[in-house]
Protein backbone atom coordinates (compact mmCIF):
# COMPACT_ATOMS: atom_id res chain seq x y z
CA UNK A 1 0.00 0.00 0.00
CA UNK A 2 1.22 3.43 -0.95
CA UNK A 3 0.45 5.87 1.90
CA UNK A 4 1.32 8.99 -0.08
CA UNK A 5 -1.07 8.01 -2.83
CA UNK A 6 -3.91 7.08 -0.48
CA UNK A 7 -3.47 10.25 1.52
CA UNK A 8 -3.59 12.29 -1.67
CA UNK A 9 -6.81 10.51 -2.66
CA UNK A 10 -8.63 11.04 0.61
CA UNK A 11 -7.68 14.72 0.87
CA UNK A 12 -8.88 15.10 -2.71
CA UNK A 13 -12.28 13.46 -2.28
CA UNK A 14 -12.99 14.74 1.25
CA UNK A 15 -13.37 18.39 0.12
CA UNK A 16 -13.14 19.50 3.74
CA UNK A 17 -10.52 19.73 6.52
CA UNK A 18 -9.49 16.33 7.88
CA UNK A 19 -8.14 15.82 11.39
CA UNK A 20 -4.84 13.95 11.60
CA UNK A 21 -6.50 11.35 13.85
CA UNK A 22 -9.20 10.73 11.28
CA UNK A 23 -6.58 10.17 8.57
CA UNK A 24 -4.67 7.78 10.83
CA UNK A 25 -7.86 5.85 11.45
CA UNK A 26 -8.83 5.61 7.78
CA UNK A 27 -5.39 4.66 6.51
CA UNK A 28 -4.73 2.35 9.47
CA UNK A 29 -1.06 3.25 9.76
CA UNK A 30 1.12 4.86 12.43
CA UNK A 31 0.65 8.55 13.07
CA UNK A 32 4.33 9.18 12.29
CA UNK A 33 3.87 7.59 8.87
CA UNK A 34 0.89 9.87 8.17
CA UNK A 35 2.82 12.95 9.31
CA UNK A 36 5.65 11.99 7.03
CA UNK A 37 3.29 11.47 4.11
CA UNK A 38 1.64 14.85 4.81
CA UNK A 39 5.07 16.50 4.72
CA UNK A 40 5.80 14.79 1.39
CA UNK A 41 2.48 15.98 0.00
CA UNK A 42 3.10 19.57 1.14
CA UNK A 43 6.48 19.45 -0.54
CA UNK A 44 4.88 18.17 -3.74
CA UNK A 45 2.04 20.69 -3.88
CA UNK A 46 2.96 23.80 -2.01
CA UNK A 47 4.76 25.82 -4.63
CA UNK A 48 3.60 28.75 -6.71
CA UNK A 49 3.19 26.77 -9.93
CA UNK A 50 0.76 24.34 -8.39
CA UNK A 51 -2.99 24.73 -8.94
CA UNK A 52 -3.69 22.77 -5.77
CA UNK A 53 -2.37 23.46 -2.24
CA UNK A 54 -2.29 21.53 1.02
CA UNK A 55 -3.17 23.75 3.97
CA UNK A 56 -2.86 23.01 7.66
CA UNK A 57 -4.89 24.49 10.46
CA UNK A 58 -3.66 23.18 13.79
CA UNK A 59 -4.11 19.43 13.38
CA UNK A 60 -6.49 19.64 10.43
CA UNK A 61 -5.45 19.23 6.82
CA UNK A 62 -7.21 20.18 3.61
CA UNK A 63 -6.58 20.16 -0.11
CA UNK A 64 -7.65 23.46 -1.67
CA UNK A 65 -7.29 25.42 -4.89
CA UNK A 66 -4.27 27.73 -5.10
CA UNK A 67 -5.52 31.10 -3.81
CA UNK A 68 -3.53 32.83 -6.56
CA UNK A 69 -6.00 31.31 -9.01
CA UNK A 70 -9.08 32.25 -7.04
CA UNK A 71 -10.21 34.63 -9.73
CA UNK A 72 -10.20 31.93 -12.42
CA UNK A 73 -11.90 29.49 -10.07
CA UNK A 74 -14.55 31.98 -9.08
CA UNK A 75 -15.23 33.03 -12.65
CA UNK A 76 -15.71 29.42 -13.51
CA UNK A 77 -17.98 28.61 -10.58
CA UNK A 78 -20.03 31.77 -11.06
CA UNK A 79 -20.55 31.03 -14.73
CA UNK A 80 -21.85 27.64 -13.66
CA UNK A 81 -24.63 29.21 -11.63
CA UNK A 82 -25.40 32.43 -13.46
CA UNK A 83 -24.73 32.07 -17.17
CA UNK A 84 -27.17 31.00 -19.86
CA UNK A 85 -28.64 27.54 -19.52
CA UNK A 86 -27.39 24.84 -21.83
CA UNK A 87 -30.00 23.22 -24.04
CA UNK A 88 -30.27 20.11 -21.81
CA UNK A 89 -30.53 22.32 -18.72
CA UNK A 90 -33.29 24.42 -20.28
CA UNK A 91 -35.19 21.31 -21.32
CA UNK A 92 -34.93 19.86 -17.82
CA UNK A 93 -36.13 23.10 -16.28
CA UNK A 94 -38.99 23.10 -18.77
CA UNK A 95 -40.11 19.60 -17.83
CA UNK A 96 -39.91 20.43 -14.14
CA UNK A 97 -41.95 23.59 -14.78
CA UNK A 98 -44.71 22.05 -16.84
CA UNK A 99 -44.79 18.56 -15.31
CA UNK A 100 -43.57 19.16 -11.75
CA UNK A 101 -43.57 18.09 -9.02
CA UNK A 102 -41.84 15.19 -10.71
CA UNK A 103 -39.45 12.42 -9.64
CA UNK A 104 -36.05 11.99 -11.24
CA UNK A 105 -36.97 8.64 -12.89
CA UNK A 106 -40.06 10.28 -14.44
CA UNK A 107 -38.00 13.21 -15.63
CA UNK A 108 -35.43 10.85 -17.14
CA UNK A 109 -38.13 8.78 -18.78
CA UNK A 110 -39.47 11.90 -20.48
CA UNK A 111 -36.09 13.23 -21.55
CA UNK A 112 -34.55 9.83 -22.29
CA UNK A 113 -31.27 10.73 -20.61
CA UNK A 114 -29.76 10.74 -17.15
CA UNK A 115 -30.45 14.05 -15.42
CA UNK A 116 -28.60 13.88 -12.08
CA UNK A 117 -25.86 16.44 -12.85
CA UNK A 118 -28.29 18.83 -14.49
CA UNK A 119 -30.72 18.69 -11.57
CA UNK A 120 -27.86 19.45 -9.22
CA UNK A 121 -26.91 22.48 -11.25
CA UNK A 122 -30.50 23.76 -11.47
CA UNK A 123 -30.81 23.41 -7.70
CA UNK A 124 -27.52 25.25 -7.17
CA UNK A 125 -28.90 28.06 -9.31
CA UNK A 126 -31.99 28.23 -7.15
CA UNK A 127 -34.28 27.41 -10.09
CA UNK A 128 -35.40 24.01 -8.86
CA UNK A 129 -35.89 22.51 -5.41
CA UNK A 130 -37.06 19.32 -3.82
CA UNK A 131 -40.79 19.48 -3.22
CA UNK A 132 -42.16 19.13 0.29
CA UNK A 133 -43.79 15.80 -0.12
CA UNK A 134 -43.46 13.58 2.92
CA UNK A 135 -45.62 10.86 1.35
CA UNK A 136 -43.39 10.00 -1.60
CA UNK A 137 -40.64 7.44 -1.43
CA UNK A 138 -38.70 9.24 -4.14
CA UNK A 139 -37.99 12.96 -3.90
CA UNK A 140 -39.98 15.11 -6.29
CA UNK A 141 -38.67 18.24 -7.92
CA UNK A 142 -40.42 21.51 -8.63
CA UNK A 143 -39.44 25.03 -9.63
CA UNK A 144 -38.77 27.58 -6.89
CA UNK A 145 -40.90 30.57 -5.95
CA UNK A 146 -37.92 32.79 -6.77
CA UNK A 147 -37.94 31.52 -10.31
CA UNK A 148 -41.69 31.91 -10.72
CA UNK A 149 -41.54 35.45 -9.37
CA UNK A 150 -38.81 36.35 -11.85
CA UNK A 151 -40.94 34.94 -14.63
CA UNK A 152 -43.63 37.33 -13.47
CA UNK A 153 -46.15 34.65 -12.61
CA UNK A 154 -47.69 33.75 -9.28
CA UNK A 155 -48.53 30.21 -10.10
CA UNK A 156 -47.36 27.49 -12.48
CA UNK A 157 -50.67 27.45 -14.30
CA UNK A 158 -49.95 30.97 -15.51
CA UNK A 159 -47.11 29.62 -17.67
CA UNK A 160 -47.88 29.95 -21.39
CA UNK A 161 -50.21 27.17 -22.60
CA UNK A 162 -49.90 25.47 -19.24
CA UNK A 163 -53.23 23.63 -19.44
CA UNK A 164 -52.43 22.22 -22.85
CA UNK A 165 -48.86 21.21 -22.03
CA UNK A 166 -49.20 20.21 -18.40
CA UNK A 167 -50.83 16.85 -19.02
CA UNK A 168 -49.92 16.49 -22.65
CA UNK A 169 -50.85 13.09 -24.02
CA UNK A 170 -47.37 12.53 -25.56
CA UNK A 171 -45.85 13.00 -22.13
CA UNK A 172 -48.22 10.61 -20.42
CA UNK A 173 -47.69 7.98 -23.12
CA UNK A 174 -43.93 8.29 -22.66
CA UNK A 175 -44.28 7.93 -18.92
CA UNK A 176 -46.48 4.88 -19.31
CA UNK A 177 -43.74 3.14 -21.29
CA UNK A 178 -41.35 3.22 -18.36
CA UNK A 179 -42.17 -0.29 -17.25
CA UNK A 180 -41.08 -1.82 -20.55
CA UNK A 181 -38.40 -4.44 -20.13
CA UNK A 182 -34.91 -3.20 -20.73
CA UNK A 183 -33.69 -4.26 -24.12
Amino acid sequence: MNINSQLETILFVASKPLALKKIVKVLQVEETAVSEALANLCFKYNNQESGIMIIQNNDEWQMVANPDNHEAAENFLKAEVSGELTRPQLETLTVVSYCGPITRPELEQIRGVNCSLILRNLMMRGLVKEADDPSGLLPKYEVTMDYLRHLGVNNLNELPDYDKLHNHEHVSITLAQSSEPAA
Partner: protein, 230 residues
Protein backbone atom coordinates in the same frame (compact mmCIF):
# COMPACT_ATOMS: atom_id res chain seq x y z
CA UNK B 1 -27.86 -30.41 -34.89
CA UNK B 2 -26.05 -31.86 -31.92
CA UNK B 3 -27.69 -29.66 -29.37
CA UNK B 4 -30.64 -27.37 -29.41
CA UNK B 5 -30.04 -23.64 -29.06
CA UNK B 6 -32.79 -22.12 -26.98
CA UNK B 7 -34.55 -19.05 -28.22
CA UNK B 8 -33.75 -17.00 -25.15
CA UNK B 9 -30.06 -17.90 -25.33
CA UNK B 10 -29.16 -15.64 -28.21
CA UNK B 11 -29.50 -11.93 -28.68
CA UNK B 12 -29.56 -11.24 -32.34
CA UNK B 13 -28.93 -12.89 -35.67
CA UNK B 14 -25.14 -12.54 -35.46
CA UNK B 15 -25.11 -14.01 -31.98
CA UNK B 16 -27.22 -16.92 -33.19
CA UNK B 17 -24.84 -17.52 -36.09
CA UNK B 18 -21.84 -17.46 -33.77
CA UNK B 19 -23.47 -20.00 -31.50
CA UNK B 20 -24.37 -22.24 -34.42
CA UNK B 21 -20.75 -22.02 -35.65
CA UNK B 22 -19.49 -22.98 -32.20
CA UNK B 23 -21.96 -25.85 -31.85
CA UNK B 24 -20.92 -27.32 -35.15
CA UNK B 25 -17.25 -26.58 -34.45
CA UNK B 26 -16.86 -24.77 -37.74
CA UNK B 27 -14.58 -21.93 -38.75
CA UNK B 28 -16.14 -18.68 -39.79
CA UNK B 29 -16.06 -18.97 -43.57
CA UNK B 30 -18.62 -18.31 -46.26
CA UNK B 31 -18.93 -22.02 -46.98
CA UNK B 32 -19.58 -23.02 -43.38
CA UNK B 33 -22.06 -20.18 -42.98
CA UNK B 34 -23.99 -21.31 -46.02
CA UNK B 35 -24.21 -24.74 -44.39
CA UNK B 36 -26.01 -23.15 -41.48
CA UNK B 37 -28.67 -21.47 -43.61
CA UNK B 38 -31.40 -23.98 -42.95
CA UNK B 39 -30.75 -24.14 -39.22
CA UNK B 40 -30.86 -20.37 -39.14
CA UNK B 41 -34.11 -20.23 -41.10
CA UNK B 42 -35.68 -22.67 -38.66
CA UNK B 43 -35.37 -20.03 -36.00
CA UNK B 44 -37.33 -17.50 -38.07
CA UNK B 45 -40.59 -19.29 -37.45
CA UNK B 46 -39.91 -19.57 -33.72
CA UNK B 47 -39.06 -15.89 -33.61
CA UNK B 48 -42.27 -14.99 -35.30
CA UNK B 49 -44.17 -16.31 -32.34
CA UNK B 50 -42.07 -15.05 -29.46
CA UNK B 51 -39.82 -12.24 -30.57
CA UNK B 52 -41.57 -10.86 -33.61
CA UNK B 53 -40.17 -7.37 -33.06
CA UNK B 54 -36.71 -8.71 -33.88
CA UNK B 55 -37.78 -10.48 -37.04
CA UNK B 56 -36.58 -7.71 -39.35
CA UNK B 57 -33.00 -7.96 -38.03
CA UNK B 58 -33.00 -11.71 -38.59
CA UNK B 59 -34.42 -11.38 -42.08
CA UNK B 60 -31.53 -9.11 -43.10
CA UNK B 61 -29.04 -11.82 -42.16
CA UNK B 62 -31.31 -14.55 -43.52
CA UNK B 63 -31.20 -12.94 -46.97
CA UNK B 64 -27.41 -12.81 -46.80
CA UNK B 65 -27.33 -16.50 -45.88
CA UNK B 66 -29.75 -17.38 -48.63
CA UNK B 67 -27.52 -15.49 -51.03
CA UNK B 68 -24.46 -17.42 -49.81
CA UNK B 69 -26.36 -20.67 -50.02
CA UNK B 70 -27.54 -20.05 -53.55
CA UNK B 71 -24.01 -19.01 -54.45
CA UNK B 72 -22.62 -22.33 -53.24
CA UNK B 73 -25.45 -24.25 -54.91
CA UNK B 74 -25.15 -22.48 -58.22
CA UNK B 75 -21.64 -20.98 -58.31
CA UNK B 76 -21.69 -20.47 -62.08
CA UNK B 77 -24.36 -17.83 -61.67
CA UNK B 78 -22.14 -15.68 -59.49
CA UNK B 79 -19.07 -14.33 -61.27
CA UNK B 80 -16.13 -13.45 -59.02
CA UNK B 81 -16.40 -9.86 -58.04
CA UNK B 82 -15.53 -7.68 -55.14
CA UNK B 83 -18.64 -7.34 -53.04
CA UNK B 84 -17.14 -5.60 -50.01
CA UNK B 85 -17.01 -7.24 -46.61
CA UNK B 86 -18.69 -10.59 -46.59
CA UNK B 87 -21.03 -11.96 -43.98
CA UNK B 88 -18.08 -14.02 -42.71
CA UNK B 89 -16.04 -10.83 -42.24
CA UNK B 90 -18.93 -9.16 -40.48
CA UNK B 91 -19.33 -12.11 -38.16
CA UNK B 92 -15.61 -12.30 -37.37
CA UNK B 93 -15.65 -8.64 -36.46
CA UNK B 94 -18.72 -9.09 -34.29
CA UNK B 95 -16.98 -11.98 -32.55
CA UNK B 96 -14.03 -9.75 -31.67
CA UNK B 97 -16.30 -7.19 -30.02
CA UNK B 98 -18.00 -9.98 -28.07
CA UNK B 99 -14.60 -11.12 -26.81
CA UNK B 100 -13.72 -7.53 -25.92
CA UNK B 101 -17.04 -7.12 -24.10
CA UNK B 102 -16.03 -9.94 -21.77
CA UNK B 103 -12.85 -8.07 -20.86
CA UNK B 104 -14.82 -4.87 -20.41
CA UNK B 105 -17.17 -6.72 -18.09
CA UNK B 106 -14.23 -7.81 -15.93
CA UNK B 107 -13.10 -4.18 -15.60
CA UNK B 108 -16.67 -3.11 -14.86
CA UNK B 109 -17.28 -5.75 -12.20
CA UNK B 110 -14.12 -4.94 -10.26
CA UNK B 111 -15.82 -1.84 -8.87
CA UNK B 112 -12.45 -0.17 -9.18
CA UNK B 113 -14.09 3.24 -9.37
CA UNK B 114 -12.24 6.49 -9.91
CA UNK B 115 -14.11 8.90 -7.66
CA UNK B 116 -14.54 12.55 -8.43
CA UNK B 117 -14.77 15.13 -5.70
CA UNK B 118 -17.62 17.44 -4.89
CA UNK B 119 -16.77 21.09 -4.55
CA UNK B 120 -19.11 22.75 -2.05
CA UNK B 121 -21.50 24.73 -4.25
CA UNK B 122 -21.13 28.47 -4.65
CA UNK B 123 -24.52 29.97 -3.97
CA UNK B 124 -25.47 33.18 -5.66
CA UNK B 125 -26.16 35.79 -3.02
CA UNK B 126 -29.26 36.73 -4.90
CA UNK B 127 -31.35 34.97 -7.50
CA UNK B 128 -30.12 35.37 -11.06
CA UNK B 129 -32.60 34.63 -13.84
CA UNK B 130 -30.71 32.95 -16.69
CA UNK B 131 -31.09 35.04 -19.84
CA UNK B 132 -32.59 32.16 -21.78
CA UNK B 133 -35.05 30.85 -19.19
CA UNK B 134 -37.99 33.20 -19.67
CA UNK B 135 -41.57 32.12 -20.15
CA UNK B 136 -41.36 32.05 -23.92
CA UNK B 137 -38.15 29.97 -23.75
CA UNK B 138 -39.94 27.41 -21.60
CA UNK B 139 -42.87 27.35 -23.99
CA UNK B 140 -40.68 26.79 -27.06
CA UNK B 141 -38.66 24.13 -25.30
CA UNK B 142 -41.78 22.31 -24.13
CA UNK B 143 -43.35 22.43 -27.59
CA UNK B 144 -40.19 20.95 -29.08
CA UNK B 145 -40.14 18.22 -26.47
CA UNK B 146 -43.79 17.33 -26.97
CA UNK B 147 -43.33 17.00 -30.72
CA UNK B 148 -40.22 14.87 -30.17
CA UNK B 149 -42.22 12.59 -27.90
CA UNK B 150 -44.95 12.03 -30.46
CA UNK B 151 -45.42 8.27 -30.52
CA UNK B 152 -44.01 6.66 -33.64
CA UNK B 153 -46.59 5.10 -35.87
CA UNK B 154 -46.80 1.46 -34.86
CA UNK B 155 -45.80 0.56 -38.40
CA UNK B 156 -43.51 -2.40 -37.63
CA UNK B 157 -46.26 -4.23 -35.76
CA UNK B 158 -48.65 -3.98 -38.64
CA UNK B 159 -46.08 -5.28 -41.12
CA UNK B 160 -45.26 -8.21 -38.90
CA UNK B 161 -48.90 -9.02 -38.29
CA UNK B 162 -49.36 -9.37 -42.01
CA UNK B 163 -46.14 -11.21 -42.58
CA UNK B 164 -46.45 -14.83 -43.48
CA UNK B 165 -44.13 -17.43 -42.07
CA UNK B 166 -41.78 -19.36 -44.31
CA UNK B 167 -43.63 -22.49 -43.42
CA UNK B 168 -46.98 -21.02 -44.47
CA UNK B 169 -45.45 -19.74 -47.67
CA UNK B 170 -43.90 -23.11 -48.48
CA UNK B 171 -47.33 -24.64 -48.09
CA UNK B 172 -49.11 -22.07 -50.20
CA UNK B 173 -46.53 -22.27 -53.01
CA UNK B 174 -46.56 -26.06 -52.81
CA UNK B 175 -50.36 -26.12 -53.06
CA UNK B 176 -50.34 -23.72 -55.97
CA UNK B 177 -47.67 -25.79 -57.71
CA UNK B 178 -49.56 -29.00 -57.23
CA UNK B 179 -52.49 -27.36 -58.91
CA UNK B 180 -50.69 -25.64 -61.80
CA UNK B 181 -47.57 -27.87 -62.18
CA UNK B 182 -45.71 -24.87 -63.53
CA UNK B 183 -45.78 -21.25 -62.42
CA UNK B 184 -44.06 -17.96 -63.02
CA UNK B 185 -42.16 -16.73 -59.95
CA UNK B 186 -43.48 -13.23 -60.64
CA UNK B 187 -47.02 -14.51 -60.27
CA UNK B 188 -46.10 -16.03 -56.94
CA UNK B 189 -44.88 -12.62 -55.83
CA UNK B 190 -47.90 -10.76 -57.14
CA UNK B 191 -49.79 -11.51 -53.95
CA UNK B 192 -46.90 -10.32 -51.77
CA UNK B 193 -47.87 -7.28 -49.75
CA UNK B 194 -44.45 -6.30 -48.47
CA UNK B 195 -40.74 -6.66 -49.00
CA UNK B 196 -40.70 -9.10 -46.13
CA UNK B 197 -43.18 -11.30 -47.88
CA UNK B 198 -41.10 -11.25 -51.07
CA UNK B 199 -38.08 -12.41 -49.08
CA UNK B 200 -40.17 -15.03 -47.36
CA UNK B 201 -41.44 -16.25 -50.75
CA UNK B 202 -37.90 -16.56 -52.04
CA UNK B 203 -36.84 -18.46 -48.93
CA UNK B 204 -39.85 -20.72 -49.28
CA UNK B 205 -38.94 -21.42 -52.86
CA UNK B 206 -35.40 -22.35 -51.82
CA UNK B 207 -36.83 -24.69 -49.23
CA UNK B 208 -38.96 -26.40 -51.86
CA UNK B 209 -35.88 -26.77 -54.04
CA UNK B 210 -33.92 -28.17 -51.13
CA UNK B 211 -36.66 -30.68 -50.45
CA UNK B 212 -36.62 -31.53 -54.14
CA UNK B 213 -40.23 -30.59 -54.57
CA UNK B 214 -39.56 -27.93 -57.15
CA UNK B 215 -36.97 -26.84 -59.67
CA UNK B 216 -36.50 -23.59 -61.48
CA UNK B 217 -35.84 -22.69 -65.07
CA UNK B 218 -34.47 -19.34 -66.01
CA UNK B 219 -33.53 -18.74 -69.62
CA UNK B 220 -31.43 -15.63 -69.05
CA UNK B 221 -30.05 -13.49 -66.26
CA UNK B 222 -32.89 -11.46 -64.73
CA UNK B 223 -35.22 -13.39 -67.01
CA UNK B 224 -38.43 -15.02 -65.95
CA UNK B 225 -38.09 -17.72 -63.34
CA UNK B 226 -40.29 -20.65 -64.10
CA UNK B 227 -41.11 -22.76 -61.07
CA UNK B 228 -41.81 -26.41 -61.87
CA UNK B 229 -43.28 -29.19 -59.82
CA UNK B 230 -40.98 -32.21 -59.52
Amino acid sequence: MIQEIKLEKFQGPLDLLLQLIELEKLNITEVSLSQLTEQFLNFLDKLENDRSEELADFLVIATKLVYLKSKTLLPYLYPEEDEGPSLADQLKMYQQYILASKKVNILWSQNRIAYGRVEPPVKNTEFVLPLNARGEDLLKSMQKLVSRLRPVNPLPKITIDRAISVKQKVESIWNALKQHKKMNFKDLLSVAESKTEIIVSFLALLELMRDQKAFINQDSAFGNMEVNLI
